[in-house]
Symmetry: C2
Subunit: 98 residues, 2 copies
């Protein structure tokens, strides 16, 4: 069973931030903003990615959210302003998910 | 019908950021991080808040996400590190939602 996922983080140190973004890419997620990824994961990969991120971030300074969505909720998400960075996201990518 | 909601934003100008946080509070949402709110809304208030935020933010520089969740997805959300700012969120608040 797969799940639609958004990951949003606020990570102070460049090195750790870059490590998290690499893990997101490795999991097949797509960057839609500087610190925001989006994609589809199997549920077991969802937990796995959570554990990896937990190990990477500095828990005293950083925050990271992993949001899972069923199709129905996913369609109701509101992305305002530059939520999708036009330099990162094109219509082809959006068509995959919306 | 009500829906569980997370709002996360990245707003450059202090004045606009403060306006959005006021709208979130007015809608009954609870601040859990500097730029993150959480709560329960009726569906019509969900759309309404979206419109208000859209009117406030600078669409060329700011980003704002409104994520709706059914109970089932909500329970699977992963909040890592300082995702809940301890200065803002206590056990009583968390017990309301989790």
């Amino acid at each position: 069973m797969s799940v639609l996922v958004w990951i949003i983080y606020d990570i102070t140190e460049n090195k750790l931030r870059s490590k998290v973004s690499k893990e997101c890419k490795k999991a097949g997620l797509i960057r839609v903003q500087k610190s925001v990824f989006l994609g589809k994961l199997e549920w077991n990969r969802f937990d796995e990615l959570g554990e990896k991120c937990r190990d990477i971030i500095d828990k005293d300074t950083d925050s990271l959210y992993i949001f899972p969505f069923c199709q129905e909720d996913f369609r109701q998400i509101k992305v305002l302003g530059q939520g999708f960075d036009k330099k990162l996201v094109n219509d082809e990518i959006l068509a995959k998910f919306f």
